[in-house]
Symmetry: C2
Subunit: 509 residues, 2 copies
């Protein structure tokens, strides 16, 4: 056989079928344009001088400042020889306080090999204790460090758990996924040969779940398909939707999972990003699935569904995406199944130690004025931008946008004129992908088409982050607004009127 | 359905079937004993006061010192506000030189968001350029930064490539694995539903490959099985064997892969760990598979097999296991297949940025006396320990050990008396696992049974690292020697004589 047997025909079908739009065609085109912008001649082609990467929640790329305490603490643990100098000198050089130095020394006393050794599979015991304490404070229920794995970001443990759930044989198992969803989930299900069974989030009802519909969906699936639904993915606060689930909704979901025997995968990486939609109204509240589950169990007097909940330092107010720190808490997992999960994690040996330390700072924040002020400032800016973004996009003609109550994204619905849809078809692209490419080439704003997240059939959306630098935020919004205007300027008057009325009708509902 | 549907009966069969001995039963028992040693009362049960973790190549856990330059460079990039002080002051506080400061500044100038943002899927372009330059210097052939992915350690890209190779349907594909092998490979094949087809490394012939046997193995497989062999795993220097492949052996492997249309997965994480077996003899030489492949292509005037080669900062002389820095170079990969691999890596977004910087230091080491002296000292100590370990174990009665020419492990063959094998059977354990558990409980030395790596049927081995602190090395060897003595002390004289003669006969061959 020739060397050429290595081809698309021989490689994994599941890899071929996997889609991952967040780093798909639009972002790849953005990277190519970005390279051209470095060349003064080529740059002339474009009516902008930089790419605004709104395709992915990557705050520091768009200018977020790091938390001094976090970086100083990690730097001191990384370079412990610095700790031989006087505390006063270290404080001056690092612009840190005594607390930071003491904490670095305490960590090294407990972990003499510092950051250089593989840790145990679950991570540093002392950091897992800090995570457990954080969860106890958050939920008012006990947490066991033995149930916690420190991980490289949150994507990795999601993949491990889905692999575990993939059933004795390929396509034995199915998992409930919301529409829209974060494409990590659809991609991982495809890679693991697990069926995705979709349930809709209702856009006009604040992206909420309808429980009767969900129940019907499961019964329907089990009546007509051979695969068994084993789990449900819940993303709260929502990505890409920006919505926050209520206590009642979460409690109904626990009921439902208990009734159907489902495992819960709760993606809570945006738990610190909860915004007041309007300043005069009450702030929405984040309820962790773990808390709701334990309350449910207390009321029923028995154990409820199994739960994996995921968190990370990449989001929140730290935004430390590059350090890849995450964790998963495993609740109500049968002991023997837990040992199997341990084995899957062992294969990667352990999460990077710097990410583990970042998790320590996130879950056990210092009692430090500077740190508090920094995180508060970041939070308020994120909140302002979330409000402005959804309000402004909601006011663009031929576009609607639900309130961004949480996370870092808006997911506006874009209406597209017929001529534009025809152009997209000619270009052999979904209309929203075509829209995102045109928006990118016209404005430098890089977004992700709604089709990458799945969306109700016949509707089109884009997802964009709230992360553009606040000083340029107005300009950024104007660019999107002008582009959408231009798209509609070429449409016929009757079509414009018809769609405007359709939107009005929909908004009244 | 009740919540209890989450059980061993419903989870992934491939997860259930996966084995990973490096963090398996023996190391788990070691962790449990380690916890007991913290309690003065419980500690009395054991005739030792610490566990020597020889189960895994984790140098800093056993006392390896870090390279100052590497840690300082990363610390300065992590905490760039420190760079506002005078260079003289920074040099004094960090015990670093100007070079380190300049390099940190240069990195930040190229990468203004520093370590806090997700990088592109392949990693920092500037670091990939450094890796490419390193490969060019190493091999004398060009390397393209676009063919390089910076990764979280080397295990992760191995898993991604095997997933890619897993074929359109489960068990369509097979991959050639050496016996013995590193269990990451067998475990990942099981997880990805790929058949393992084994080829033997011949212990008494320096763990070498016999090409005629390998060809026969492939032809046999294709004559009798439905799956197609798509790739071969080569571990050079060998893990667990400690052997180093010759140029001739590698060149024959390229011939063979070209003939059979196989992709090569070349695990070269121990490329810097090459030891002179005896001081008066020539040092064995590391030839990278890439270099041998390019030479082969030059001679043939055409493209050869596809190659993935893996490297990491966890081994070598840096031993930075916790930072999880690795890379894979992809050669001769069809462009469309390469795009599929890109997609798989995109799902994890990017490798942790600190590990990426560590790769930069490894591949572009500073022109710094301190750094050179440190790495030289570490290397010489590793070399001494490798030599002492294989020589000493080779001299233990009822044990043989091939020369450790590379990597960080010895893989001695242990002969076991009949009564001991019977005891193991009664304990329902493979005899070598039983041996490792008894060794652990008797001496505190934690090793991995040969069965975890696969071994020629009817033979027993253990793998242990060369990493115990040099000042305690003699004591550590004595413990193993005494334990093995004790095992044989209880055997009958006729059995002792018979096995001694068998070993003599074998050694003469």
């Amino acid at each position: 056989m020739p060397s050429s047997q290595f081809s698309l025909r021989t490689i994994s079908k599941s890899v071929l079928e996997t889609e991952y739009a967040v780093r798909g065609a639009v972002p790849l085109r953005a990277l190519a344009i970005d390279r051209e912008l470095d060349d003064p001649e080529l740059a002339k082609k474009y009516p902008f001088d930089r790419i605004v990467y709104c395709n992915i929640g990557n705050p520091m790329l768009l200018g977020l400042e790091y938390a001094l305490f976090l970086r100083n603490y990690i730097a001191l643990v990384l370079a412990p020889h610095v700790l031989t100098h006087s505390d006063a000198e270290i404080c001056r050089i690092f612009n840190c306080n005594q607390n930071c130095i003491d904490r670095a020394r305490a960590f090294l006393a407990k972990n003499p090999s510092g950051l250089g050794a593989y840790t145990t599979t679950k991570g540093f015991p002392s950091v897992r204790r800090e995570v457990a304490d954080f969860l106890e404070r958050r939920d008012g229920f006990p947490a066991d460090p033995e149930d916690i794995y420190l991980t490289d970001g949150a994507s990795l443990p999601v993949k491990a758990v889905i692999k575990l759930l993939s059933g004795p044989n390929p396509f034995d198992s199915a998992i409930l996924l919301p529409i829209p969803q974060y494409p990590l989930y659809s991609a991982t299900l495809t890679l693991c040969s697990v069926h995705a069974v979709h349930y809709e989030l209702h856009e006009e009802d604040d992206w909420s779940v309808r429980m009767d519909e969900l129940r019907r969906r499961v019964d329907e699936h089990h009546a007509t398909s051979k695969s068994t639904i084993r789990a449900i993915v819940i993303i709260n606060p929502g990505n890409p939707t920006g919505s926050v689930l209520t206590h009642k909704a979460l409690s109904s979901l626990v009921d439902f999972c208990d009734e159907k025997g489902l495992v819960i995968l709760s993606d809570e990486v945006y738990q610190a990003n909860i915004y007041a939609p309007e300043p005069e109204k009450d702030r929405p509240v984040f309820h962790s699935m773990k808390k709701v589950l334990r309350e449910w169990e207390k009321a029923k007097g028995r154990e409820g569904p199994s739960l994996f909940s995921f968190h990370s330092v990449s989001k929140g107010v730290l935004g430390e995406c590059g350090l890849r720190g995450g964790f998963v808490e495993c609740c109500n997992i049968p002991k023997d199944v837990g040992m199997e999960l341990y084995k899957v994690f062992s294969l990667c040996l352990c999460a990077n130690t710097v990410g583990q330390l970042a998790i320590s700072v996130m879950t056990n924040p210092p009692d430090d004025v500077g740190y508090k002020k920094h995180t508060q400032t970041v939070f308020e800016s994120l909140e302002r931008r979330a409000q402005i973004l959804s309000r402004s996009l909601g006011n663009v003609p031929f576009m609607t946008c639900e309130t961004v109550s949480g996370a870092m994204y808006a997911f506006p619905r874009i209406y597209l004129p017929e001529y534009f849809v025809t152009e997209a078809r000619k270009a052999n692209l979904p209309p929203d992908s075509y829209y995102c490419l045109r928006l990118l080439e016209d404005t430098g704003v890089c977004t992700v088409p709604g089709s990458g997240f799945l969306q109700q059939s016949g509707t089109f959306h884009i997802r964009l982050t709230t992360l553009e630098d606040e000083s340029r935020f107005e300009d950024f919004l104007l660019k999107i607004r002008n582009f959408h205007f231009k798209v509609w300027a070429d449409a016929s008057e009757p079509e414009r009127t018809r769609v405007e009325e359709e939107i009005k009708r929909r908004m009244k509902k």
